[in-house]
């Protein structure tokens, strides 16, 4: 098993490297380079060429890539063009905010989705099953900004339970943060819960057709125990994979929700950086996004391996 895990980690490292090449190449082929982004309206052919020389942009792309990735590996992500601060300092608070919101949403969404999915499997084809399927399908089908605005309209404007703006500051206390981010959290939960819940239900029901499930019933166990104790552990691998995908989405895909609630997360930062042609910042954001995505999927793979006793305990 250890060999399998190490193999997966190796694949993960290679994927991150490949992603970094794509990010670098992507910013390379964008129209206008760093020099023209800095000089903007003052660019003349002469000072452009001088600027490029100064920034080392005349050197081959391969050399600049190796330099960039080597520095990034040591934590030096370069200097932001818009305000001359180190990119790492720009990123850190945003990253914390993004992780906070994602973690908060996941803490609510994952147990909820697994619980709803197991219940739907236990009461398959019942009214509850149909209702929860219909409701979650509805929340996933409505665009997330609409969900967000609907929540704001009712929970914040009409009944005034939660604040509509999630404008957290570095000095905001933990309790206030929970209160401020409650609506964005709820929006995200509504968006991601359907996918995970349906996967839980489908995987468990798939296992329910196995001979050892019939055996469990013939042993005289209750349906709840058969589903939770006998079907669920064998259905874990696909469920974990879907949870990982959704967690990754919670970190990297929430720019729309951030905009709706004016939440200072990474997504907003990336959008700002792109509009300002802040190339080092764009590259750093891309690198972080791909790392989060790959690491989460890697974790899912490893957990999937660990959850399988055949791999955990060979003959």
């Amino acid at each position: 098993m250890l060999r399998l895990v190490i193999q997966r980690l190796g694949f993960g490292a290679m994927t991150i490297l490949a992603a970094s090449v794509l990010i670098f190449a992507g910013t390379e082929i964008l129209p206008g380079d760093l020099a023209s982004a800095i000089l903007q309206n003052t660019a003349t052919p002469e000072n452009l060429a001088e600027m490029r020389l100064q920034l080392g942009l005349d050197r081959p792309a391969v050399v600049r890539y190796v330099e960039w990735i080597a520095r990034a590996a040591q934590g030096d992500l370069g200097v932001s063009l818009s305000n001359q601060r180190p990119v790492a300092d720009e990123l850190a608070p945003r990253l914390r905010n993004s992780f906070f919101l994602a973690g908060f949403s996941a803490l609510v969404a994952v147990p909820l989705a697994v619980f709803l999915g197991l219940m739907a499997a236990i009461y398959q084809n019942s009214f509850y099953d149909r209702a929860v399927n219909f409701f979650t399908l509805m929340t996933i089908s409505i665009p997330e900004y609409l969900v967000g605005y609907l929540l704001v309209k009712y929970l914040s404007v009409r009944w005034q339970i939660f604040p509509s703006l999630a404008n957290v500051m570095p000095e905001t206390t933990f309790v206030d943060r929970i209160d401020l981010t409650f609506l964005p959290m709820l929006t995200l939960v509504l968006v991601v819960v359907a996918h995970m819940m349906r996967m839980t239900r489908a995987s468990v029901l798939n296992i329910m057709a196995s001979p050892y499930i019939e055996m469990a019933f013939l042993k005289g166990l209750t349906k709840t125990r058969v589903v939770v104790r006998h079907a669920f552990p064998n259905a874990l691998a696909p469920i974990i994979a879907v949870i990982a995908l959704n967690l990754a989405y919670l970190v990297v895909g929430v720019v729309v929700v951030e905009s709706v609630f004016v939440y200072p997360g990474l997504g907003q930062l990336l959008v700002d950086a792109v509009s300002k042609h802040d190339v080092p910042l764009v590259q750093a954001c891309g690198l972080i996004f791909s790392c989060v995505f790959i690491l989460l999927n890697l974790t899912a793979d490893v957990l999937g391996i660990i959850s399988n006793p055949r791999l955990r305990r060979p003959r």
Partner: protein, 536 residues
């Protein structure tokens, strides 16, 4: 408890009912009683309704099946009128079930001990240490190795025979009044079957449990049952004392079942010709680490039937794959009609492919369910001989006729055929290439006894008519004696004995051949005692 029977089944009837309305009747007018310590054997082919009866006693029916008539009295209470919760409570301490495939019936995610202790603990009958102590005691009774630590393992970590015994321990955990054995040794090798049967019998006798033993193998049930009921198409054919049924069967169907083992129709004639297939010192493996077959040499002449016998893991199916080229040999040579065959399938010429064909164990899997028989059988005709559509159709019709299949089957799909008919299609597909050699990989083991018998007869007739040679992979020594003129006994990838069937199976025998032969159950009730006495 009174002295009355534990189980009293009266005029039981079970039917299929689905959206389209009433379906076939699975069990019809079945009555029997079972007392403490008594073992009843239910025997019949697949579709006879024997498992359905067994599960009905547990108050369980599969999807769309319903008990529509009769009484099922368990200690005087009718299972039919129980509430779902009462039925569930019946399972475990009342009636316990031992399934055919322990490998599929144990949950792969939990240790054996967790699964065995589950019911006594869930029902509050025992504490965890009590349940564990009981399990260890059962492991000891069932002759399982290292009983104190056996339960710590996961299902995939123990052998098939051990797992089957672990399932008996699981069934016995809550001290049931009735045990239902549903084909518990069918998936095991013959030598393992003997040990497991002996363990089961000891368990039943020592605990005085009543049991129902379901099987298709009359010789197996004869070792363990006091009474035997023969079933066919859900109806009772014959019911009586085990010895009476074996020695003096009244019904025609029972007579055929009893006679099946004894029948012989001689093998192909050994012709003093140059060998058709020569396997010379072949070695092969899947991972490169463990040799699955090791220095195997065998020869098949035209018109021969060479049976390769051995238990699971002996390398016999791997040998077939090497001959076919599905697995590349590592050393040695495979020569066909004098020429060396390339090791890999993709390097072989179309003519080399045509001359060696294969028939598979499970026709359900080996036939494409979305193609018609015309497509399935016509494909090799078209591929090897490039005939036009009309000629292909004519040839397929000819082959169907040869298989005793009706001509109007040509446009049907496999799902509309029975197991035996599907296997005939598999044979027709192999013959469509007009091969010189057909490799038969366990071709009868997925079929019912009498159906398998018909397939063997068909293969023999085709050999007489067409002169085709067979390489017959099987674990069933009864089959070998009846159809093969040559035999090779394999064990752990090595051929331990080979030659003419009558020589190999006559004294002096290789000790392993003797062990295999003596493990085949015989149609008498004292066979198991004799075998165990002989080995002690």
């Amino acid at each position: 408890m009174s002295d009355g029977p534990i189980l009293d089944i009266d005029k039981l009837r079970i039917e299929v009912r689905n959206d389209a309305g009433p379906g076939p009747v699975l069990v019809d007018d079945i009555s029997f009683t079972l007392h403490k310590g008594q073992v009843l054997g239910l025997i019949g082919e697949s579709g006879a309704g024997k498992s359905t009866i067994g599960m009905a006693i547990l108050g369980y029916t599969r999807a769309n099946c319903y008990i529509t008539g009769g009484r099922l009295l368990f200690q005087g209470r009718d299972i039919r009128t129980m509430s779902p919760d009462e039925r569930r409570a019946l399972r475990g301490p009342g009636v316990a079930y031992i399934a055919q495939s322990a490998a599929a019936s144990f949950n792969p995610a939990h240790t054996l001990m967790e699964q065995i202790c589950e019911i006594p603990i869930q029902l509050g009958l025992m504490s965890l240490p009590e349940a564990q102590a009981r399990a260890i005691e059962l492991f000891r009774e069932l002759d399982l190795p290292n009983p104190d630590h056996f339960g710590e393992r996961y299902p995939h970590q123990v052998s098939g025979g051990q797992l089957q015994r672990a399932m008996a321990a699981m069934a016995m955990a809550a001290k049931p009044a009735v045990l239902i054995f549903d084909e518990p040794t069918t998936a095991l090798d013959v030598t393992t079957q003997v040990e497991v049967l002996a363990s089961f019998r000891k368990l039943i006798r020592e605990n005085g449990t009543a049991a129902i033993y379901i099987t298709h193998d009359l010789a197996v049930v004869a070792q363990i049952a006091d009474d035997i009921m023969v079933l066919r198409h859900g109806k009772m054919v014959e019911y009586g004392r085990a010895d009476d049924i074996l020695q003096n069967p009244q019904q025609d169907y029972t007579k055929r079942l009893v006679a099946e083992r004894a029948e012989g129709h001689g093998g192909g004639q050994a012709q003093a010709q140059a060998a058709l297939l020569e396997i010379r010192h072949v070695t092969a493996s899947y991972t490169g680490l463990v040799r699955v077959i090791d220095d195997v040499s065998l020869a098949v002449s035209p018109g021969d039937t060479l049976a390769v016998v051995g238990e699971s893991g002996s390398g016999k199916s791997t040998l077939a794959r090497v001959v076919m080229g599905l697995l590349a040999r590592e050393q040695g040579d495979v020569r066909f009609a004098g020429d060396s065959l390339p090791a890999r399938l993709k390097d072989r010429t179309r003519e080399q492919l045509r001359r060696v064909q294969m028939i598979y164990q499970s026709p359900d899997v080996a036939l494409n369910p979305s193609q018609t028989l015309l497509q399935i059988i016509g494909r090799p005709v078209q591929f090897y001989f490039g005939r036009d559509r009309a000629a292909v159709r004519a040839r397929v019709l000819e082959l169907l006729k040869m298989m005793d299949l009706p001509a109007d089957f040509i446009d049907r799909k496999p799902a509309a055929l029975s197991g035996g008919q599907k296997q005939r299609v598999g044979i027709a597909r192999a013959l469509a290439a007009e091969p010189d050699l057909i490799i038969c990989d366990e071709v009868t083991s997925a079929l019912d006894q009498l159906v398998g018998e018909e397939i063997l007869r068909l293969l023999k007739r085709l050999q007489d008519e067409l002169g085709v040679a067979y390489l017959f992979i099987t674990h069933d020594l009864g089959v070998v004696r009846r159809i093969a003129n040559k035999v090779a006994v394999m064990r752990h990838g090595v051929v331990v004995a080979a030659g003419e069937t009558k020589t190999v199976f006559a004294p002096p025998m290789h000790p392993y051949t003797e062990l295999l032969l003596s493990s085949v159950p015989e149609m008498r009730s004292d066979w198991l005692d004799d075998v165990l006495a002989g080995r002690a």
